[in-house]
Amino acid sequence: MFKFDKLVFGDAGWGDEFLIATFMTLLVSILSMGLGLFLAIITVWAKIIQNRITRFIANFYTTVIRGVPELLVIYLIFFGGNAVVMSIAKVFGYNKYIELNALTIATIAIAVISATYSSEVLRASYLAISKGQIEAARALGMNKFSIFFKVISPQVIRHALPGIGNVWQITLKDTSLISVTGLVEIMRQSRISSNVEHSPLTFLITAAILYLCITTISGRVFKTLEVNYSKGFST
């Protein structure tokens, strides 16, 4: 049933392929988490400035993406992404065929999903900062940038870390859906290997164990970070 000999490194087994696939999963997760956080900051900014139009757009974006299955979003970006990029390129007078590579599409798709979750976390932790602090910073003559970098962001990071840890776990698990686009990450690798070796159980359990290892280790990392960032605050 479980064929250990198929998991050795080298040509006889799939060990090295799985190692590369694990790195690919981690790469997609980290890239899309980063891009997602960037998008989330823009979304939060659009929500908290007193502007009806930006707030409507941001709310529409988060509501729709969170109410629609991840798989559907990935399909949309995978099948529709090229057309969008080509039509944008046409505006700038570039008429040739453009094809985005799988990694780019995967990163964008997962980031679009992950950003909606991150934005809720970041918004909540921004709202947890008391207004008096920002007023105090202003009274000290700090400009907008130093208020953002020296007063707001350190506290937002501290408040948001547990939530961001959860979003990271969700993002990591969402990358398994990217296998439908053909990017060879853990899930795709386990499908390829099991199709070749006719032993789905072996490779799917391998995939499950790999995911379990990544989530456990990254959970530990986030715990350490939380302890680090809440120094001086009794937890």
């Binding site: 729709v64 299955p69 559907l72 399909y75 057309a83 899930m187 032993s199």
Partner: protein, 236 residues
Amino acid sequence: MIEYLNSIQNSLIYKNFFLVLSGLDNTILLLLISLPLGFVLALLFALGRVSKITLLSRTIASYIFVIRGTPLLVQIYLIYFGLGSVKFIRESFLWYALKEPFWCGVIALTINTVAYGAEIFRGGIQSIEKSQVESGLSLGFGKFLLLRKIILPIAIRKVLPSYGNELILMVKATSLVSLTTYMEMTGIARKIMAKTFAPVEAFIAAGILYLFLNFLMVQFVKYLEWKYNPHLRLNN
């Protein structure tokens, strides 16, 4: 006016909408079985998790750890492709269920939601004040009566918002069953995309239906919260 209506009827979104709508019953069927089953099992698992029997509690804790640490897609594939490849399962009575993508989907979704639900309910049970249990005991309640009349009602209504989140995640999770050739809404939308190569139209049709389902789910949870939290209503 009539021309305008005709143009709407001939538009791709309009046609896709009804095509995708034909998959709605399959999506709802998945939910109708896996959600109630998941709810009951999650309650039982949560009780086992907080019980004083160490072996039971540890087993359930590791089950929750494994299920929450792996993607749902792995679980669905493990049940659909993985179990189907084992010879003695193919020869046993289990094969009647496991050869159908529908039942594989139901089993995988149930296993998944039980793990998340059990963790949510555990939080609810552990947050009950000790005095409430003690006053129940002082009234001479037995263990079962205490559970039925005090612990479960309070725990469930406390965690209704977070369990509502889990229900919405489950609505979204049904889309993954389409990867086992089961034709629910996402599966049909995927087929339309492959056929017409118009991903946006198919996406909008399916997306509207999913948003609608989730909207209903949110209203349902809101109604439950209103019904079971009479002490929190503003004017009664």
